[in-house]
Symmetry: C2
Subunit: 127 residues, 2 copies
Amino acid sequence: MGVIHRFREEGKSCLWEGARTRPYSGEGYEGTMQWLIGKPEKAPNFALRYFEIQPSKSSHLEQHEHDHGVIIFRGKAKVRMGEEEQLALPGDIVYIPPNEIHQFTNVGEGTLGFFCIIPAKRGADTD
Amino acid sequence: MGVIHRFREEGKSCLWEGARTRPYSGEGYEGTMQWLIGKPEKAPNFALRYFEIQPSKSSHLEQHEHDHGVIIFRGKAKVRMGEEEQLALPGDIVYIPPNEIHQFTNVGEGTLGFFCIIPAKRGADTD
């Protein structure tokens, strides 16, 4: 049976009913992410997570075999892909192909929030 | 190399730079959808599309082997999953597992817009 995870805003945070909150460590901080679609939904093909990054903080600089589809939902990101950097704003879609070096930095004044799609099958059960 | 498809609003429509607009037929109408991540991005694992449905219109009632991850972006949807119907609002996440009957109806006054994730490998190159 399908499922709906209902969205609500609580203060500056975006929250989803029935989502699983998991630890997430970025560049110089320990935060959390929310799993919205994944193993509990028995999703065989892809997973969906939501990340929040506070102003001036960054995700870790990463490079791995699986790809990312990202939808910016809140705030202002500087996106590093390979040797390039670009700004991304709410509604923008970012595709990071397999093995591309990438990092998201919050360059706005409020929380940076984005959805991130990953394949269900990947080398390690990481980001 | 990664790519950013930049978002803009034009009147009541949401548009993305570099996205491919493709025909989409719903229940009693011919519309379009936008492909945001797919073959042109060489995405091997998943695809991302954006659908707009006008007030009182519906997507086709469908049942197929591939699953859907949906993020409601604009408007108000009635979501049929199996024999059940539920309302979904902006920010809500809908997961439709493989082989679940499903249909999205716009029950609001404005455009219903949603993102839809599908696996890259699926039985037919359809919705």
